[in-house]
């Protein structure tokens, strides 16, 4: 007999409904799965058969053929165990086919017949709703994730036998309700706050401007000056996530299998800090079935590259596309996938290999050639995409031991959020949301500059021999500074002066 059930797989950051057809007929006993299954799906026949047996159900040993459609997409998810098992039971008449076709089944089976969690349930639940199906069956561990999607009923039986009894109309199974996250006892959340950082006013101001305008930042400073500490706290001054953004992030983390213990909505902006040994594929995503990389995991958050010149050149150059397009396209023979990658890039580096170049109290041991070789690892095009360059000097003793607490993140966040609001109003007609995304034409149209500021720009342009691109960037940063200044309509000389300071703090004499 023939039966069809629905399962789901993921493709990029989206879910995809897979129709699972099962035929069980007379003939030499066999269990074949067709429709481009990968190894974990092909192995599912052993799990399915054992789980059915250990649930106290019997399946006849017949010629069983399972087809996964659409056939051209490689199926990776072990979550297809459950639809195959239910399809097999339906094909052998243990459960009614009509009842099964209302559901999408997503769970891996243990040999004992328990439903186990799988990655990517959130996008699969979204696909379920979009396909017009109303009900999804997931393992109890995936409930919170599936419940994030409105408009579908979620069922989470712990075992296969409970599900089968429910489908047979014997057992009872209530749709799951969301459970509040229970934090493990003694769990203290460490909150990184800007007030932890003493001194470093210049760098803090630069990061505030960056968070407000979505600008990328390069911090150059001597070892131990607090670059890493500062970068870790940037997400605490960025505006709170909207529900839409939070869902997008949760989707990505669901697919990457990084959702944490209760699998609910992610409410904090991500902070990704890959080691400098990271490969290009780790940074931008990859694999034969492409998985999200660091740039995608940092979506709506911060990507922090510490010791920037130590990264592989190819990995750094690969950042150009996501920085420009706010997404990353990964092409493989089988398909081309696009992952979102809208993040603020924060980089940190030492000024020279020994680290002390430019410090007042230490002597740099490096030769000019060594310094040149070190800084030249960073290509012009990459540095051009980083709007703000700032120096982070050694913190002074008085500042470090000062009793006065620095300004807390919440206060900075208020200013940043207000500035973002202004930008959104100005840029929403272009479908943009922050100043860093403006192009040259928009700058001409949207940024009015006072005559005094124009004079200043001219003087600097000529004395520093700026490129057209640098000029644009100064105006962009100036616009953000004006937005932070209670939303000043015009960019004044004061704003421009600060923007120049944030840009030309150091230039590697290129």
């Amino acid at each position: 007999m023939y039966a069809r059930t629905f399962g789901a797989a993921t493709l990029g950051v989206d879910g995809l409904i897979i129709s699972v057809e099962v035929d069980s007929a007379n003939g030499m006993p066999a269990f074949d799965i067709v429709g481009l299954p990968n190894a974990s799906v092909r192995e599912s026949k052993e799990r399915v058969r054992t789980a059915i047996k250990n649930s106290g159900l019997r399946s006849r040993q017949e010629k069983i053929t399972v087809n996964l459609a659409p056939a051209e997409i490689r199926k990776e998810s072990a979550g297809l165990d459950l639809p195959i098992a239910i399809g097999l039971l339906a094909a052998q008449g243990r459960v009614t086919v009509e009842k099964c076709s209302e559901f999408v089944f997503v769970a891996e089976l243990s040999l004992e017949g328990r439903l186990c969690s799988v990655n990517g349930v959130l996008p699969m639940a979204i696909a379920t709703r979009d396909a017009g199906l109303k009900k999804i069956v997931v393992s109890p561990d995936n409930v919170n994730e599936a419940l994030l999607v409105d408009g579908i009923e979620v069922y989470a039986p712990p075992t296969l036998i409970e599900l089968v009894e429910f489908l047979q109309g014997e057992g009872k199974l209530e749709p799951a309700k969301s459970q509040p996250a229970v934090e493990p006892e003694g769990f203290i959340e460490l909150v990184d706050d800007f007030s932890d950082v003493q001194g470093q006013f210049m760098a803090k101001r630069a990061l505030e401007v960056a968070a407000a305008g979505g600008h990328n930042v390069l911090m150059v400073g001597v070892p131990g000056s607090g670059k890493t500490m500062l970068a870790k706290r940037v997400s605490s001054i960025m505006p709170e996530l909207t529900r839409e953004e939070a869902l997008e992030i949760t989707k990505i983390y669901s697919i990457a299998g990084k959702l944490g213990f209760n699998g609910g909505l992610i409410t904090k902006r991500p902070f990704q800090h890959p080691n400098h040994d990271a490969s290009t594929a780790a940074i931008i995503g990859g694999g034969s079935n492409p998985m999200p990389g660091q740039v995608t995991l940092a979506h709506h958050g911060v990507l922090f590259l510490d010791e920037l010149p130590e990264f592989r050149k190819s990995a750094l150059e690969a950042l150009r596309e996501p920085l420009e397009e706010r997404q990353v396209t990964i092409s493989r023979v089988s398909n081309t996938l696009t992952f979102p990658a809208s993040f603020i890039l924060i980089c940190a580096m030492n000024p020279c290999p020994c680290g002390w170049y430019g410090d007042r109290d230490h002597n740099c041991q490096c030769s000019q050639l060594e310094i040149k070789r070190y800084t030249h690892k960073l290509s012009g095009p990459l540095l051009d995409r980083i709007d703000i360059h700032v120096r982070v000097p050694r913190v002074k003793y008085d500042e470090l031991t000062s009793k006065r607490k620095a300004e807390p993140s919440a206060k900075v966040r208020e200013r940043v959020s207000a500035a973002r609001e202004i930008q959104l109003n100005r840029l929403s007609k272009y479908h943009l949301f922050c100043n860093a995304q403006m192009n040259h034409a928009m700058l001409q149209e949207l940024c009015t500059i006072t005559p005094a500021a124009k004079d200043l720009l001219k003087a600097v342009f000529e004395s520093k021999k700026l490129s057209a691109r640098s000029y644009d960037r100064i105006i962009k940063v100036g616009r953000t500074i004006a937005d932070l200044d209670n939303g000043a309509a015009e960019i004044s000389d004061k704003h421009i002066a600060e923007a120049i300071k944030l840009r030309n703090e150091l230039d590697f004499e290129r």
């Binding site: 007379n26 003939g27 030499m28 006993p29 066999a30 269990f31 074949d32 006849r60 040993q61 017949e62 010629k63």
Partner: protein
């Protein structure tokens, strides 16, 4: 193959056939042979064609009897079964592959019947 082992094997197969008949199986063929492939017993029970491989052992020096029905042996049996099922009489029948272990203890025999011992593996 020595005469003794051959004799032991035949005795085991006879015993297995009697055993099956006593459980209501109808023997359709014995030693069904296609080229180098052979099926010891082909029987039928309640509409299911059963292909039986009989393995007889005197001791466990070489492991369990059923362990000797390895992948290569299974392929042979499946190949022969395919030929047997070409016969129109048996078209679209349910079928299965069994292994019967016979333990020869002096003049007595012990039996273990493994139903559905193996199935057809796809080629890839």
């Amino acid at each position: 193959m020595t005469v003794a082992t051959k004799k032991l094997g035949n005795a085991g197969e006879d015993f297995a056939a009697n055993y099956l008949e006593s459980y209501g199986y109808q023997i359709l063929a014995r030693n069904f042979r296609v080229r180098s492939a052979e099926i010891d017993i082909i029987a039928e029970v309640s509409g299911v064609i059963v292909f039986v491989e009989v393995k007889t052992r005197k001791d466990m020096r070489h492991g369990l009897p059923a362990e000797a029905v390895n992948w290569r042996k299974q392929k042979k049996i499946i190949e022969a079964a395919g030929v047997f099922l070409q016969d129109e009489t048996y078209a679209d029948c349910a079928c299965r592959f069994d292994v019967i272990e016979i333990y020869a203890l002096g003049k007595n025999f012990g039996v273990r019947h493994i139903e559905n011992a193996f199935e057809v593996e796809s080629e890839f």
